[in-house]
Amino acid sequence: MRSNTYGKGLPGLALATVITLCAALALTFFYAPLDANQGFVQKIFYIHVPLAIIALCGFIAAAVMAIMYLRTGDRKWDMRSYVAIHMALIFGIGGLIAGSIWAKASWGHWWVWQEPTLVSYLIVLLLFCTYQPLRFSIEDPERQSLYASVFAIVAGAFVPLNFLAVRLATAYVHPRVLNLEGGALPGPMKLTFYVSLLGFALLYVTLWKFEMVSKDARSQVRRLRRALLGDDAGRPYGRSAAPL
């Protein structure tokens, strides 16, 4: 059995993730000042925004990986894209729930349908929620990878377009605290936010590698079993939708 390349550096990365996230938590609760308008409830900002940003970046990264699959035909890229979308969905749902709790505390409502930022984010999440059903509905592994990659690219391209459309919208209540000029955050809040963003980015990469290790091991087990049964050309076992 060939060695698992995705496990390389995983323990060190996991350690760096834990340290950064602990630092982010310490900064959030012991260093960052209370927001003048919202008070303590603004602390949700330090998980809600990084989770949402990382999720959206994950969708874009998955689209890039899908492009790599279409260019090379190497199914590893398809598996990477699949796992990137899976992880981004988990982060996205976490960000959505955290944001919803913040909205309830801040605006008095769990969800506000008139707010373009919330609705567009939900649309992106729902769009990517259809990725897995689409993938699992196709039995042929080659066609499955091809269609899933095309979907990942189109949906991934939708993410920045959606972001720009919302930014250009004038009527919104969702705060805009980040921009290219550095945003409206004071220094300690900005530092806390960036440490938190780094922590969640590391967490995303760690969990992505963790899942890749698991997926790679499973695909190797399947391949070995097929080889043992003398059925090298056969279809994958069980849910053939899992890449490789």
Partner: protein, 88 residues
């Protein structure tokens, strides 16, 4: 702007604390559930791998036994052949 979105005063710490704790706990639980599921899958893969190793060992043992039997059968045949030549 709708009156719905009028800036609300900051919640008292006791009330805000519950919301902040809820948000952090929910995110932590989501990640924990994911890691738990992945750990279970890894265990299953490990079990499958162990089973596969046993299968491979069984196949190897069967092949070795088969080869030994063939060798023995070959020796017996050779022995008969020699004898028959001697008789002739």
């Amino acid at each position: 702007m709708s009156p719905l979105f009028a800036i609300t005063p900051a919640l008292p710490l006791g009330k805000a604390g519950k919301f902040v704790a809820a948000a952090y706990i929910v995110v932590f639980v989501i990640l924990l559930v994911y890691v738990g599921i992945m750990a279970l899958r890894s265990q299953r893969t490990q079990r499958e791998l162990d089973q596969l190793r046993r299968d491979v060992d069984a196949v190897k043992a069967a092949r070795e036994l088969d080869e030994e039997e063939r060798e023995r059968a070959g020796e017996t045949l050779d022995g008969r052949g020699e004898r028959s030549e001697q008789i002739v």
